[in-house]
């Protein structure tokens, strides 16, 4: 069995409130938008602060909070789509910066909103196979750096942040069976098109998409209606398969902590699945959508607020860029 043994997160210092965004877009009804998407402020990494930097601070917080010796870590997994370099893996750099032994394995993997679940699935498998005993799973993202200055919708939704989770042979939450999925046919619906090997050079091009939003080649693009439809198509089935794999019913679940994409989408999922409000966690008011860190941030806040107690069964799931999705059960 594998367990969550420690969990921390870090949000960068700079906070951008809706009032600040309103100064840039005075004609925008941001209050009405905020009431629906549920974000009132978000944190932004500094210009010279990378996802690797955020992950390092999150890891140091974890070590301090739980009195963990970095020398006990034998694997580092870093989930990010904002690596410090094309190569090497930022996880390798973090091994050195965090004082983790050179006998530890380390690599980055490129996923977004489903990344926390995929990292847990890998860590769980590494522990069950005997490959590792103490896996440091880091999720870190700086999507705000990918956003066009005029892309007010995404600038209001996303926030930067990082989380650190120690997955081990013992701990406070037993990790259940995983359900994962992928549909690459939707890759273009959430994409930064240029800068990688396929389209290395910036094009400077932009066109209006089907929702009336501007699609910039050189910045993050999200087809909101397509992602919304994808979520409504995939998540209800995902929930049922997670329950089946873990031999549970919805009545057994004490709390659902899903990827905090935006409040409107989460509320719609909740209504589709007819989950009671009190069992369905929604809180991204002061963080925004931090991509791969939302589930960890949600779990940590729930633990701190006493919303999760010993004996509780919690379902987690992530879904988004890829398109990619996954989920599992945590028994506290």
């Amino acid at each position: 069995m594998a367990y969550i043994k420690a969990l921390s997160y870090y949000l960068p210092n700079r906070v951008v409130t809706n009032e600040e965004l309103l100064q840039e877009f005075p004609e925008w009804s941001i209050d009405k938008v905020a009431a629906k998407v549920g974000v009132y402020s978000r944190h932004l990494a500094a210009e010279d602060e990378t996802a690797g930097d955020l992950a390092e601070i999150a890891a140091r917080k974890l070590f301090e909070e739980y009195n963990i010796d970095p020398k006990d870590i034998d694997f580092i997994l870093l989930c990010t789509q904002s690596s410090d370099y094309i190569l090497p893996s930022t996880a390798c750099i973090l091994q050195n910066r965090l004082g983790i032994p050179t006998t530890a394995g380390a690599f980055d993997y490129n996923l977004g909103c489903s990344g926390c679940v995929y990292g847990m699935a890998m860590a769980d498998s590494f522990i069950k196979s005997g490959l590792a005993k103490n896996v440091l799973l880091l999720t870190a993202e700086t999507y705000q750096k990918y956003l066009h200055p005029l892309d007010k919708s995404n600038r209001s939704i996303f926030g930067d942040g990082a989380a650190a989770c120690l997955i081990s042979t013992d701990g406070f939450a037993e990790i259940g069976e995983f359900e994962l999925g992928t549909d690459g046919s939707g890759a273009n619906n959430l994409i930064v098109k240029t800068g990688g090997a396929r389209h290395k050079r910036a094009t400077g091009r932009h066109v209006e998409d089907e929702d009336g939003h501007i699609r910039y080649d050189d910045y993050l693009y999200m087809n909101g209606s397509a992602i919304f439809n994808f979520t409504l198509d995939v998540v209800p089935g995902l929930i049922n398969r997670i329950l089946d794999k873990n031999s549970l019913n919805n009545e057994d679940i004490d709390l659902y902590v899903f990827h905090q994409a935006n409040k409107y989408m989460l509320n719609t999922i909740r209504k589709v699945c007819t989950f009671p409000k009190e069992k369905f966690y929604i809180n991204l008011e002061n963080t925004g959508n931090t991509v791969s860190s939302t589930v960890f941030i949600g779990l940590k806040d729930c633990i701190n607020m006493g919303n999760i107690k010993s004996g509780d069964i919690v379902m987690i799931s992530g879904f988004g860029v890829g398109l990619s999705w996954g989920g599992t059960i945590l028994k506290f």
Binding site: K32, E210, G212, G224, S225, F228, N229, L232, T268
Partner: protein, 74 residues
């Protein structure tokens, strides 16, 4: 579902627009409150009430509420 029933359901997706402003021949894209978020509400309604997937592109092509009715209920 009858058209008038659909029009009332469509009007429910708006928070501030008076339902009397929304008729079958209403050019909904011109309504002050119409935005991509209202579009999401219509997409969700299509999915939840009618089990139908409506894309942003399809919704953009519709001019009147009746066009949306034909799209979803056809």
């Amino acid at each position: 579902m009858e058209l008038n029933e659909f029009v009332s359901l469509f009007a429910d997706q708006f928070d501030e627009t008076d339902p009397s402003e929304i008729s079958a021949d209403c050019k909904f894209h011109d309504l002050d409150e119409w935005s991509s978020l209202t579009g999401m509400a219509v997409i969700a309604m299509a999915k939840l009430k009618f089990g139908k997937t409506v894309t942003g592109a399809e919704l953009r092509k519709c001019v009147t509420v009746e066009d949306v009715y034909k799209l979803i209920c056809s």
